[in-house]
């Protein structure tokens, strides 16, 4: 009974949405000794093989029931998996409601995993011009870099798809912006209004907004 309880526990473990859910649904615990789809498939296969073998030694009319029996076993096994999945989905909906329920668009982002970044970008947007501006995003983490760019649109955000590399200074022009979020190697000299990154040549810039591990600069 203990072994069965362990297996059932693995199958019914709550699998909440993660970044990987769009690619893979494990179906319970990440690691399982006996995956439920395998168990059900083997059960149906053995029963079907038995029936088909039996058919060889039985009067022919019974053969007409074999297909129906296999279909019913297959559908029932599918239903078992689907019931587990529906139960998981229901729990997920409950969790999603607890996190986002009753909130408007802004409130939902303030309750999301990147709430601190969203808050900073909202403040940055208040500093940016009304018309879309070119803005470069720098962060050591791919997630923050891409996510900040997403929050900055429809400004013309540039989050280098090639990696954590800011373009060289000569590719910037006056009126461009730089949003820095948790990025090492960026230095600003407020006295002289000079900004440089990764040990490169400095450019003239003005700091427009400062946050915890974050800043917004306007290139001049």
């Amino acid at each position: 009974m203990g072994v069965l309880a362990d297996r059932v526990g693995e199958w019914l473990a709550f699998e909440r949405w993660s970044g990987a859910s769009i690619n893979t649904i494990v179906g319970g615990d990440d690691v399982q000794s006996l995956p439920l789809p395998l168990l059900l498939a083997v059960s149906v296969a053995l029963a079907a093989a038995g029936m088909l073998a039996w058919r060889k030694f039985r009067p022919v009319p019974t053969a007409s029931n074999i297909a129906a029996a296999i279909a019913i076993m297959f559908a029932a096994s599918w239903f078992v998996l689907d019931a587990r999945w529906t139960w998981n989905l229901a729990r997920q909906v409950q969790a999603t409601f607890a996190q986002y329920g009753g909130k408007d668009w802004r409130g939902k982002h303030q309750a999301a995993e990147d709430a601190a970044l969203f808050e900073f970008v909202e403040k940055a947007r208040a500093e940016l011009p009304a018309t879309p501006a070119r803005i470069f995003v720098a962060s050591d983490r791919d997630y923050f870099r891409e996510r900040a760019a997403y929050h900055l649109y429809p400004h013309n955000a540039f989050a280098n798809p090639g990696g954590n590399v800011l373009p060289p200074p000569e590719q910037f022009k006056a009126g461009d912006w730089i949003l820095v979020y948790q990025r090492r190697g960026v230095q600003f000299d407020p006295a002289n209004g000079r900004l440089r990154w990764d040990g490169g040549a400095p450019v003239s810039a003005q700091i427009k907004l400062r946050g915890e591990g974050a800043a917004l600069f306007l290139i001049q």
Binding site: T24, I25, P167
Partner: protein, 512 residues
Amino acid sequence: MSSIGLLFGLLLTWAFGIACLAALPGTAGRTAAPGGPAWMIGAGGLAGVFLATLWLRALSFAGIAFSVWSIALPLLAATLALGLWAASRQPYRLRDAFRDARHTVWGALSGRSLDSTARILWCLLLAWLAVRFALLFAEVATRPLYPWDSWTQWATKARVWYEQGRIVPFVRVDEWFAAGGTSYIDAGPHYPGTVGLIQVLACTFLGRWDDTLMNLSFWMLAVAFAIAVYGALRAMEFDALWALAGTWLVSSLPLVNAHVALAGYADLPLAMYFCLAILAFMRWLKSREPADGALALLLLAACPLLKVPGRIWAFLAVPALLVGLLPRRGPHIVGAGYLIAALGLLLLAQTDPLLMGYRLHLDFAPDWEALANSFLLYDNWHLLWYGAVAVALLGRKHLLAPGVAPLTAVVAGGVMFLAFVLMFTNAREWVSDQTTVNRASLHLAPLIVIWMLMVFRAWALSLAAAASTPEGVEPPIDTIAEVATGATTDVAPAAPTNAAPDATPPAAPVAP
């Protein structure tokens, strides 16, 4: 505008699609056939959304800004005009048509055509599906855009296009610097824009940017798709309960559900449009009605505009047509074509080329463990792949039976394409880390369910036919398939249906 506006907009695009299909010549007489209304309602939903995105492209091309007026008014006018045109061709009055439609829909929903046990099962299954879609609705309507690619390369375009009121270009890094601020960039600048335009539509009707509610369009597409699958299966002469069971199999695949709940990727829309396009071609092969052909072409056109691999999937309609149009020679031509394509790719792979972004190589070393996890051990697909393999083995004699063969040609081509990409290109790495293997397979999965049902039915009927003959000998395969598909004949020069130029005369029908 508000949520009411969004609801109105979604229903309007759906109604627009239905009106377009209803207005096509040859449709009127077929809505009374089993599954006819469900097919028109479901396929109409997908057609309407895609046509609406084409309208957005036209507006942008003409320099007219996206707005409720520039989108909703023309769609409303077109819906009314096409609807009235379709109604005027009906032999009875509009009021009677609505009454009949209500009667038909209610009759279908209540499972009236079934006996008592089957009717109970039908109602339970319908309730189960309703719970599923209710849960998915709750999730989509509550959660802001979540999965990675949805906000790095799909909704990025939607946000910019919605706020700018037009389609502006997204370009690669060097082009972006050269453009000096007139072009945009994201993680997938070369990706097609249809997903973004679907989100733009929703936000325009909503009247504001909302990266939660804009994804209700994808939920609506999933509902429409389920209805269309039911209609297609009914038209293939599955009874109401079996058709609903098939719809449940398609709609309960966990990865399909995940792509509805965490909407914003192009994979599920591509799977739905591709599946319905092939089903529409199957209908056309049987009916030769221009309406079915036009719908198939429209849905197929959506595939490359949804995602780059959609080009390959769209191309797979060719083998289906070849096999359907030339029942005797078609399978040989398609088989030879697949062989030549495989050999050609193997030769090409020796030069280490890039094909549609995939680097080919001859290093055959698939990650079997990851593949087994994806298809057999994890619950991505419930029992789909077990079932597909079992059905292919059990029904191997019926894979090329008329009615089944076109689908077999598509499924075989699709599986070969997936196997090649996942085993002979750099995409193998995405099998190991489980990032792409399931999403790539998703494009084919709904069609595999339908293929599985058809092959299984052909096998089951052959067993039944064998049981009913005194010697217990299975009748000829063509005869069984004829019973299974309900096709009147494979040649039938006098009949307008399923006319095949090189088909053999049909065998005498055998009752199941």
